[in-house]
């Protein structure tokens, strides 16, 4: 039973990582798109929202089973407070930090229509911190002794970094136009 929980925790961890990376890539496609194609934007917006939510479900499973199983010592406190686990405190702690950030991102997104856009945006941007933290956590712990799982982590890292580098150089499709309008002055 205990071993089953341990495997369940690892499996949900890997699924969460894949879903997190997918959500991140979709989110960046949405915020950094070059040209607006209504149908694509709609599908991407929906997927970003629902895969993100689905990921939270897997992650809750991952954290719960990691706490419940007694194969390694991770207490209930470690679910929310980083660096308190008896087992690999540093790498488990990174996962805790990522989980805390994710909870903040999920809650603010659920309340998006009730809080200010600036507050939502500020918290949502923390996703860029969440992802590498989760990636290192996954790389150092769950997938260390399985080449196939490690490959999944590396693939997520490569996909995410490609998307981030694309996002950095992507500009809004009419930024050039806005710039030229501003340059014309007001007279």
């Amino acid at each position: 039973m205990n071993e089953l929980l341990w495997y369940f925790s690892r499996a949900t961890g890997v699924v969460s990582m894949v879903l997190l990376t997918t959500t991140l890539v979709l989110g960046m496609t949405l915020s950094g798109r070059r040209s607006a194609r209504p149908a694509t934007s709609t599908v991407v917006a929906g997927l970003h929202r629902w895969l993100g939510l689905g990921m939270v479900a897997f992650l809750v499973g991952h954290v719960t089973t990691a706490v419940v199983e007694t194969y390694v010592s991770i207490g209930p406190l470690s679910a929310l407070v980083p660096f308190t686990a008896g087992y690999q405190p540093l790498w488990v702690g990174l996962g805790t930090i990522a989980f805390d950030i994710l909870l903040a991102v999920a809650v603010t997104s659920a309340l998006r229509h009730r809080i200010s856009e600036r507050a939502w945006r500020g918290v949502h941007l923390a996703s860029y911190l969440l992802w590498p933290t989760a990636l290192v956590h996954g790389f150092m712990l769950g997938t260390s002794d399985q080449p196939l799982l490690r490959l999944v982590t590396v693939a997520c890292g490569v996909a995410g970094m490609l998307a981030v580098s694309w996002r950095i150089q992507a500009t809004h499709h009419d930024r050039e136009h806005r710039r030229s309008v501003t340059a014309q002055g007001w007279s």
Partner: protein
């Protein structure tokens, strides 16, 4: 007001917030068409309330809100 929200068959667009993703045009084809830069043009037509709710929720710029009044 959840009751008003459930029944709204039209949207109002916050043009300052709008970033021209076109999600509203894809979900509300009767009342929204896009101009040549991809920003919405609102017509006096109704779409199903369920689609209005989805569009309000999915707008990436949070630039939509349910409305029951006819646009000018």
């Amino acid at each position: 007001m959840p009751a008003a929200r459930e029944q709204a068959t039209r949207v109002a667009v916050d043009r300052i917030a709008c970033t021209g993703h076109g999600v509203c045009a894809a979900l509300l084809p009767r009342q929204i068409t896009l101009d040549e830069w991809g920003y919405p043009i609102v017509a006096a037509a109704d779409d199903p309330a369920v689609d209005v709710e989805a569009a309000v929720r999915l707008c990436p710029a949070r630039a939509l809100r349910p409305s029951r009044t006819t646009p000018q």
